[in-house]
């Protein structure tokens, strides 16, 4: 018989209580996996969207607010001529309710720029020019809105024709309603206003060169900020709020898990007081008793972590197909995140077991003879 068998058998003394504690800790870990996976997926999905368009640098103004603030379209003229800039595209992107969909990305792009090149048409065509009152739907957006080529879609008060359905090569692109920039500026009542400039740099530029270019952009366009594609999301106020809420909620869930495990292990120590005294009387050292309690709580954490990762994964797959999220992001459930969640669960288990273990170490073996 091994020491690990002793530890496992300790947990099996009260299978219902152990099971309920497992559920408690696994819900906390599931929250970590789901919420952190979603928030990380938010960044990676937008980064993938940028990469699919071939955008290397984004000039935006997202730092002070949840959504990017608009700035004059003429800002692009200040940087387009700079060496290292291969192409630019003025962007006006909004998150808005469209028909039955509560939240959808509406991505207006400067007509004729590289930002239209990644769209692989699955049906129909692209707008003929910047003035055609038409949209192209990403394939997920088309499914969500249940639209086909020839239908119309209402944005704010305007009815626009769906002329094409496209695969944009990324979740965010596929979940977007894509149209020419002047059209959305007109609908939003913001002529000559944009909230991002996508920049494609020359192919031979290294990271240092991009950093220098960003610095130059920031000098020339002080009302906005230039960052590598993806970084602008990571540094945005919106993402920071989402990230903070994810970890905040997860931490609360974990705290509940800690209290659950601690309660279970304390009950275990109280219930097994005489058993522990017997073990001491039989020659077990206090250190071995402490290790036994800590290993039990760590094992509880490990099992809770594994179950929690499973629950979190299932939860994320259910969430990503809900109407509110579909097409906005692809959750990032990396092996690293899962291992981190299990590690958190084990740490939670060990921390929860510290006080019960300390209590167990204070028991005296003489109680073994008190029948």
């Amino acid at each position: 018989m091994t020491f690990s068998a002793v530890v496992a058998r300790g947990l099996m003394r009260r299978p219902v209580r152990t099971g309920l504690t497992l559920v408690g800790i696994s819900i906390g870990i599931a929250a970590v996996v789901a919420l952190v996976g979603m928030s990380r997926g938010f960044v990676s999905s937008w980064t993938a969207g940028m990469k699919s368009r071939g955008t290397d640098i984004v000039i935006h103004n997202m730092r002070g607010s949840v959504t990017p603030k608009p700035f004059p379209a003429e800002a692009r003229d200040r940087i387009a001529h700079l060496p290292g800039v291969a192409a630019t595209c003025d962007i006006l992107v909004e998150l808005m309710s469209i028909e039955d969909s509560e939240m959808m990305i509406v991505s207006a792009r400067e007509w004729g720029t590289y930002c239209w090149e990644n769209l692989k048409l699955l049906a129909g065509r692209l707008p003929r020019d910047a003035s055609e009152r038409a949209v192209v739907l990403g394939k997920t957006a088309a499914e969500t809105l249940r639209k086909q080529v020839g239908d119309t879609v209402q944005i704010e008060t305007e009815e626009l024709s769906v002329v094409g359905i496209a695969d944009g090569g990324a979740v965010v692109e596929n979940g977007s309603v894509i149209l020419a920039l002047p059209l959305l500026q007109e609908i939003m009542g913001s002529p000559d206003r944009i909230n991002a400039i996508d920049v494609r740099v020359t192919s031979n530029m290294d990271e240092a060169g991009m950093n220098r270019l960003c610095a130059e952009f920031n000098r020339l366009i002080p009302e906005a900020r230039a960052e590598a594609a993806g970084e602008h999301i990571r540094h945005s106020q919106g993402f920071r709020i989402i990230n903070a809420m994810s970890w905040g909620t997860s931490s609360l869930a974990i705290l509940v898990g800690v209290l659950g495990v601690m309660n279970t292990m304390l009950m275990t120590v109280f219930e097994r007081k005489q058993e522990i005294c017997i073990l001491l009387a039989l020659g077990w050292r206090r250190g071995r008793i402490v290790r036994m309690i800590l290993w039990e709580s760590a094992l509880l954490g490990l099992l809770g972590g594994i179950v929690g990762v499973g629950l979190g994964t299932i939860g994320v797959h259910l969430l990503k197909n809900t109407a509110a999220i579909r097409g906005l992001l692809e959750p990032e459930l990396s092996v690293k995140l899962m291992l981190m969640a299990v590690a958190i669960a084990i740490v939670v288990g060990v921390i929860s077991g510290l006080y019960p273990a300390w209590r167990s170490s204070r028991l005296t073996p003489s109680a073994a003879l008190q029948n």
């Binding site: 068998a5 003394r13 073990l279 001491l280 009387a281 077990w284 071995r288 005296t364 003489s366 003879l369």
Partner: protein, 244 residues
């Protein structure tokens, strides 16, 4: 010369296993005096029965001998070394002492053979040999067919036999038994006492048995009778059963 007297004479020349001088134990800040100055020696291989009514201090004495508790005053030595100042009492209990309790105190979630292996975690015995040794010990107490049973599925006598096998797990030189037949019917009690007597004879262990039953004490080679925390008699066991 009877057998008990012969044992006593042999013991007098043997190595002193325990030596207590003015041993005292107080509880509740001195309000309860469990031991009030006890002096005795126990030699290697002796079978000593400690008898007396409830509350006379015999279990407290057993706790002192097993280093489960420390005396309030006086001294208690094991093979010449003070138990009060012993650095590692757990190692002493593990390697030198085997405990048998009145209530058996087997771990309910472990089978008989697993219960016997519990003390071996603190021994130097290789892990691969533990199960084999536990099986041998269970065979020695006549439980070869009950090795994989849980305590809940065993009779009181069987549980006590498992507890006896467990007490022998690390080949101790001293066996301490606290009312080992107190929870058993008379038939099982006889079996257990015969078993303990045989084990004592075969293994040449020092055996200290606490009991309130003089008929059990008669099996010992020496009786220490206690009353109110003091030794009132120390000598050969009585030839007839009488109330102490």
């Amino acid at each position: 010369m009877n057998e008990a007297t012969s044992d006593r004479l042999t013991a007098a020349t043997a190595v002193r296993v325990f030596e207590a001088v003015d041993l005292r134990k107080e509880y509740d800040d001195g309000q309860v005096h469990a031991l009030r100055g006890v002096d005795f020696c126990i030699s290697e291989g002796e079978f000593v029965a400690v008898v007396g009514p409830s509350g006379c201090g015999k279990t407290t004495l057993l706790q002192m001998l097993g280093a489960l508790d420390r005396p309030s005053a006086g001294s208690l030595c094991y093979r010449g070394k003070s138990l009060e100042t012993m650095r590692d009492p757990a190692a002493y209990r593990s390697r030198e002492i085997g405990f048998i309790f009145q209530a058996f105190h087997l771990l309910p979630t472990f089978t008989a053979v697993e219960n016997v292996q519990i003390p071996m975690f603190e021994s130097h015995r290789p892990r691969r040999n533990r199960k084999t040794h536990a099986r041998e010990l269970l065979q020695a107490v006549g439980l070869e067919k009950r090795m994989n049973h849980f305590p809940a599925k065993m009779s009181g006598g069987e549980r006590q036999r498992v507890a006896i096998a467990r007490s022998l797990a690390n080949d101790p030189s001293v066996l301490l038994a606290d009312e080992p037949t107190g929870n058993l019917d008379s038939e099982s009690a006889h079996y257990i006492l015969d078993l303990l007597t045989t084990l004592h004879a075969e293994r040449k262990m020092t055996f200290v048995l606490v009991t309130h039953d003089l008929s059990i004490a008669r099996r010992a080679s020496r009786v220490i009778q206690m009353k109110d925390g003091r030794i009132v008699f120390d000598g050969d066991p009585p030839s007839e059963v009488s109330t102490p």
